[in-house]
């Protein structure tokens, strides 16, 4: 007979249900890897792609099943709540769309498909796990799983020097950043004696906060800030996005970001460490400004979208900056909505870009897009809708995403940050608009071949488009779901929020005329 304490640590059946999506994705990933050498190259493209896609769909189903049994698993390391379910759906959905849009790309670029799909699946496992882990060490492991797959995926255009360069650069800087995160975790353990987020939070409420906690938070933020490409940890982004295969950029500008934001949300809003809102304020303002200003002068569409993703990380961080003041539910739900809307529109944009780029990614400059509106009106119109959504024009998801974030910041009386945000979104309009202008208002000077839209890409585009427009017209359901999960995330004792001694400036801080 085992001692009772030991019995408790043995995982129960329900524990496995709570990581079912991750398990299923891993199994499918292994199947893809095993099958890869067994089928001949011609067939492998399609077959492995479909298996990968099937894995993602099964993962979505498993997420639904997992959602039926919320709770903690594996000695409080994994937590299934609405919050993690939301991000599971989002991340696995992104993976599915990316695989759909990769079918054609892999064939055109003549890349062997096997590991590609397997790596996407494994990466997805890591990202999904990041959203449900409530143990800092497990978060770190999940972060590594997802990062290592993306490092390899970045270098997948093996014959291109820029791709290898991107991969190496991403790997070196990325490892450095994750080391920072780990260091932060270690310090947090030193300060509180725990690596469990809930325990840390309780501990911090009970005792006076040490200096070490500040440092730990800051170091963890460095690691996560790198992953979400927030300034000042954004420098890698343009080069890596330019070198990586276009569908992979679509993936890594959305899914790992969503996962990192999920962790950041959990960490920032659950652990009530003071001082973090100032940090986030600066990061948000910097990311928005540097991203938008940098994008103004780009002539490569992939670089342009890279800078745009930095800017969007900044908008998203605005929702974080209001932690510790009043209504944190508005901030969390705004951030969650933003990740979803951003994923939809950015994936769509990159799907078009990767189709247009053609073999060897030859056509990626603004000049190549001249006359695109005439040569393939449907694809151009689709890209236009995604770009309008990135600008934040009404009837698109991007509009409500920005709106909720600005609204949350305004509610927290962050008037200056809101102003920085709205001015930035006006600046941002310029470079997206430039692409639209080039597509519709210039005649083409170059011969750019027009290829028919294959089925996989068509479905991927349709999904992104429907999601973008749906979020732009009826944002309610997603937002309510986000709010509901935000309630679970916020600390149970509301008094703790005001007790941390960190008050936002009162509303009267508006400058006197």
């Amino acid at each position: 007979m085992l001692p009772a304490a030991l019995l408790q640590t043995i995982p129960q059946g329900v524990d496995y249900v709570r990581i079912l999506p991750e398990l299923i994705l891993s199994v499918f990933g292994i199947v893809v890897m095993v099958l890869d050498p067994l089928v001949d190259e011609e067939k492998s493209q399609k077959l492995l792609g479909f298996i990968g896609l099937g894995g993602a769909l099964a993962g979505l189903l498993a997420t639904w099943y997992m959602a039926q049994s919320p709770g903690l698993a594996f000695s409080n390391m994994v937590k299934v709540d609405d919050f993690s379910v939301f991000f599971h759906f989002l991340i696995i959905g992104i993976a599915a769309v990316v695989m759909l849009s990769s079918f054609e790309y892999m064939a055109v670029q003549r890349i062997r498909a096997g590991e590609y799909y397997a790596l996407i699946l494994f990466g997805t496992v890591g990202m999904a796990l990041m959203s449900s882990a409530v143990e800092l060490v497990l978060i770190f492991i999940a972060l590594e799983i997802s990062s290592i797959s993306t490092y390899i995926l970045t270098g997948f255009r093996r014959n291109e020097a820029s791709s290898s360069e991107a991969s190496l650069k991403y790997f070196l800087l990325g490892s450095f950043a994750t080391a920072f995160f780990l260091y932060g975790v270690a310090l947090m353990f030193g300060a509180t004696g725990s690596t469990n987020i809930d325990l840390i939070s309780q501990k911090l409420q009970a005792e006076p906060v040490q200096l070490l906690v500040f440092v730990a938070m800051a170091l963890m933020f460095v690691g996560l800030g790198f992953k979400v490409a927030a300034a000042p940890f954004h420098v890698w982004t343009p080069d890596v996005y330019e070198g990586a295969p276009a569908p992979v950029v679509g993936l890594m500008s959305t899914a790992p970001k969503a996962a990192a934001f999920a962790v950041l949300l959990r960490v920032v809003f659950t652990i009530n460490a003071p001082g973090r809102s100032g940090l986030l304020w600066v990061a948000a303002a910097l990311s928005m400004t540097l991203g938008n200003v940098g994008a103004l002068v780009q002539s490569n569409v992939k670089r342009l979208l890279a800078y745009s993703s930095i800017a969007h990380a900044g908008y998203l961080l605005m929702a974080f900056a209001m932690t510790g003041s009043g209504d944190s539910i508005a901030g969390i739900s705004a951030a969650m909505f933003y990740t979803a809307a951003y994923a939809a529109m950015n994936l769509g944009a990159f799907a078009v870009v990767s189709h247009f780029a053609n073999a060897g990614e030859r056509y990626v400059t603004l000049e190549d897009y001249e006359g695109f509106g005439r040569s393939s009106p449907l694809l151009a119109a689709t890209l236009t809708i995604f770009l309008l959504s990135l600008i934040g024009i009404p009837l698109t998801g991007g509009f409500f995403a920005k709106f909720y974030v600005f609204n949350a910041a305004m509610k927290a009386h962050l008037i200056w940050l809101t102003l920085v945000g709205v001015i930035n979104s006006a600046i941002g309009a310029y470079y997206y608009l430039r692409l639209i202008v080039v597509m519709y208002m210039r005649e083409s000077r170059k011969e750019v071949p027009v290829t028919a839209i294959p089925l996989g890409l068509g479905v991927a585009l349709a999904i992104s488009l429907v999601a973008t427009v749906y979020l732009g017209i009826l944002p309610n359901r997603i937002l309510q779901f986000a709010q509901h999960s935000a309630q679970e995330l916020t600390p149970p004792q509301p008094s703790a929020i005001s007790a941390n001694g960190e008050q936002m400036p009162p509303p009267a801080a508006i400058p006197q005329p």
Partner: protein, 505 residues
């Protein structure tokens, strides 16, 4: 359908009918003639639907009518709240009146990408109507921004030589200005918990909004900047001549006819409605800017060698009258401002169509290229003269009524302003008549002009309704003012005290 539900849903029908048309056009086969007919039918249908509004409008009622208020999004509390009062009523009718004319005037002149053109035109119409009908600040902002894209694309795709520059300039100017309005709207929501215009207005009037005194001036300016760029008020007018010169004719007509009125409508509705205190406080410098706009616009118009630029600067001048009227806070001034908005929409719309007809034949807007056109094109010359007279404010035509009322209001508020503004009327007679003389009188200077065709059926069908409307508005302004007057009175309620003081001096 019962009358009750009609009056609830009529605004929804009017607003979204063009959008439905645009969506149907999307799946329409690319047969250009059918597309044109389809667009015409849909825009006429919208106009007929919109005519329901003034016919069943209760003129004596001050408040909003045809109200519909449904929750759209629960958090934040955004409503689908639409209604009309005497201020917005006629602007909606004006929009729906001008759109079919735009379809007609583009019948022959747009040959390329016909389908896209009419889709954009119909989407633009929906957005424009939405701006005037929404009472939820969020919904308003939503439609306000939605007008940008179709208009910028109309200019950028279907415009003339420097179209891209003009489209981007137009877009950036208005976009940057309107984000300040968004910030102000968000502030209001954060402090009142509502986007509803009526709710916010009442809360402000009762002094229930925390921290308002400190912020009100900034909020006022946030709204005002967005509107001033749209009007455009001097010195924010520089995008207008570029946009007009490069825009296709239909684009110019809607730009001058309706888009500019979004700005003045916004001032009247939001700046005066929400912040009466600040409006009064800021009125002096705003009126001076309006005066500068009137005189400067007229003087610059006078020296333009390009017909479309001339008309564009005349718009700057005319819209100056509107702003002057609004910030005079007098019954006459506001009635006049409203009337000038409508009259300017009709007559400047007509002028742009006429300019477009010339461009169609000679591909230039340079006035020096023409001369003596009355000989080859008598019908055209007569129509042109009529619209020119309407625009410069000949009594019995529409321009006169509005300007007269505005000047009355300006005199009541401050006589000097009235005197200065009155010179604007003289200037406008100067540049318009001089334009007419150079283009139509004398001998035909260029042989190529001798063989120019007179107006054809579509063009007559597009221009003459404007002439008829101009005459009707000039002869029986009461038809319009009867609905405007009570709404203006309501808008002025917070100012009545002030006005009596000013008049008493």
């Amino acid at each position: 359908m019962s009358t009750d539900s009609w009056s609830t849903y009529i605004l929804t029908f009017v607003t979204f009918a063009p959008l439905v048309g645009a969506l149907l056009l999307l799946v329409f086969p690319r047969r250009d003639r059918d597309i044109r007919i389809f667009a015409l039918v849909f825009s006429l249908l919208t106009f007929l639907l919109a005519l329901h509004l003034p016919v069943h409008f209760h003129r004596s009622v001050q408040g909003f009518q045809y109200e519909i208020d449904r929750q759209w999004i629960s958090t934040p509390d955004i409503h689908y709240h639409m209604a009309l009062d005497g201020i917005s009523l006629w602007l909606v009718v004006l929009t729906t009146f001008l759109t079919p004319l735009c379809v007609l005037i583009s019948w022959k002149s747009v040959h390329d990408r016909v389908k896209e053109f009419f889709i954009l035109l119909l989407i633009l119409e929906t957005a424009l109507i939405g701006v005037f009908t929404s009472l939820d600040l969020f919904l308003f902002y939503f439609f306000w921004e939605s007008t940008l894209i179709p208009m910028a694309l109309l200019i950028g795709i279907f415009g003339h030589e420097r179209k891209v520059y003009a489209a981007v300039k137009f877009f950036m100017y208005t976009m940057i200005a309107s984000v300040f309005m968004l910030a102000a709207i968000l502030w209001l929501y954060a402090h009142t918990g509502s986007f509803d215009f009526v709710v916010i207005r009442d809360q402000i009037a009762r002094g229930r909004v925390p921290n308002l005194p400190a912020a009100a001036q900034w909020l006022f300016l946030g709204f005002f900047l967005a509107f001033a760029v749209k009007v455009p008020l001097f010195p924010f007018h520089t995008w207008l001549p570029d946009a007009h010169v490069e825009a296709p004719t239909a684009g110019s007509v809607l730009l001058a006819g309706v888009l500019l009125k979004m700005g003045t409508y916004g001032m009247l509705r939001f700046n005066l409605g929400l912040f009466p205190e600040q409006a009064r406080h800021n009125a002096p410098w705003i009126m001076i800017l309006a005066l500068i706009g009137i005189i400067y616009g007229a003087l610059v118009a006078m020296v333009q060698p390009n017909m479309k630029k001339l008309i564009a600067y005349s718009s700057v001048s005319h819209l100056g009258f509107v702003v002057l009227g609004i910030f005079s806070f007098t019954q006459a001034g506001l009635n006049g401002a409203m009337f000038v908005m409508l009259a300017h929409g009709v007559s400047t719309g007509g002028l742009f169509m006429l300019a477009g007809i010339l461009h169609e034949r000679r591909h230039t807007y340079e006035i020096s290229e023409f001369g003596g056109l009355a000989t080859p094109m008598p019908v055209y010359a007569a129509s042109y003269l009529f619209i020119v007279l309407a625009s410069l404010g000949l009594p019995l035509l529409n321009g006169f009524i509005g300007e007269f009322l505005v000047l009355t209001g300006a005199f009541q508020a401050k006589p000097v302003y009235g005197v200065l503004a009155a010179t604007g009327v003289i200037w406008s007679a100067g540049y318009l008549l001089w334009l007419f003389q150079r283009v139509f009188y004398g001998k035909v200077t260029k042989p190529v002009n001798l063989s120019m065709r007179d107006m054809i059926g579509f063009e007559k069908a597009a221009v003459w309704p404007c002439a008829v409307a101009a005459l009707l508005m000039g002869v029986a302004p009461i038809l319009w003012l009867a609905a405007i007057d009570p709404a203006v009175q309501a808008a002025l309620t917070p100012f009545t005290q002030v006005v009596s003081k000013v008049v008493g001096q």
